[in-house]
Amino acid sequence: MNYIWSGMILVSLAAGAINGNISEVLAAGLEGAGSAFYTVLGFAGLMCFWSGILALCEAGGITKVLSKVLSPVLGRVFGKDSKALNNISMNVTANILGMGNAATPPGVEAMRILDEENKSKYPNRKMCIFAVMNTSSLQIIPATVAAMRTAAGSTAPFDIIIPVWITSVVSLAAAVGTALVLFGKRQ
């Protein structure tokens, strides 16, 4: 990100100097900063509302129920007796509900346990599958994106939900499939 951002700034200024529109380039930069602020303000309310609802999901036990429902399915992938299973289902549940911050602690703990169970210095198939489950999004309700769409004036912010589900499932399948091909059956 260091190089990308510095590159963007330096290249635009240099190009502006060559094309003779450097003052417009600078003005555009400042305007961009301003619109960044307004954009965040625009979806702040919705985003806060969703964070509140998610806190209720956790407090009311919806999270726990989901995690119980998921653990048999996950047991088939990661092995029923893996010590990591509990953490994995908590991680997946949080990801599904779009609680990125809540997903990380159990996710990292699960990875540490999987790593302990894996006796090699190469990551094994389980670790790879678990990692790509976290790099592909499993989220059911794309709250942040919907909030941003509303802020930008969309009349149907959740209209994208079916394409999002399809895309999430297909891209996860592609990542897991690639993992299976690369790691084969061996553990």
Binding site: P123, V132, R149, F158, P163
Partner: protein, 168 residues
């Protein structure tokens, strides 16, 4: 059906809390506070990326890039969408900012706006996630994992374009 998904979730969240004698109001407010902290967290990246992207566009460099990319790609894609596809796995804040730009510029319900929304909602900041998750392990050699994750991201972009075309 879609009109009911979100209301049902909200209803269930509040209902279960009330039923479970949870202090609903203060739990909700606590969640809001967390959400607000997240927002403050992404603001710096938003300012950085949106100002740099806007400079890049004003200087004409973005146009040149887009022309080159358009030659390779078999279909029309706004330049920002290409940038989003590339930036998504690398920078979370950066891609949120870029999505905001696309939504403001082309409109949230335009083809580009919808595709961008789907890309952003169906993928994660792959590099960051791998860094955090493999940070606690002893294993080296995570190239294969990175490759599998990036295949997922590439498929995500392709399927987003397709799915937005099918479900209008």
């Amino acid at each position: 059906m879609m009109d009911f998904v979100v209301p049902i979730l909200i209803f269930a969240a509040v209902g279960t809390c009330l039923f479970g004698k949870v202090d609903v109001y203060s739990e909700f407010c606590g969640g809001v506070e967390k959400g607000f902290k997240t927002l403050i967290g992404i603001l710096p990246a938003m300012v950085a990326v949106m100002s740099a992207a806007s400079m890049l566009r004003a200087s004409g460099v973005m146009g040149v890039f887009a022309q080159q990319a358009a030659r390779i790609l078999p279909f029309d894609m706004p330049e920002e969408l290409i940038a989003l596809a590339v930036l998504r796995p690398v920078s979370g804040g950066g891609s949120v900012a870029l999505l905001a730009e696309i939504l403001n510029r082309y409109g949230p319900d335009s083809v580009a706006g919808r595709i961008a929304s789907v890309i952003a909602a169906s993928s994660e900041t792959t590099l960051y996630v791998l860094m955090v998750y493999f940070g606690v392990t002893k294993v080296k050699h995570t190239k294969k994992v990175l490759f599998a994750a990036l295949v997922g991201d590439a498929i995500c972009v392709a399927v987003s374009i397709w799915a937005c075309g099918v479900f209008k």
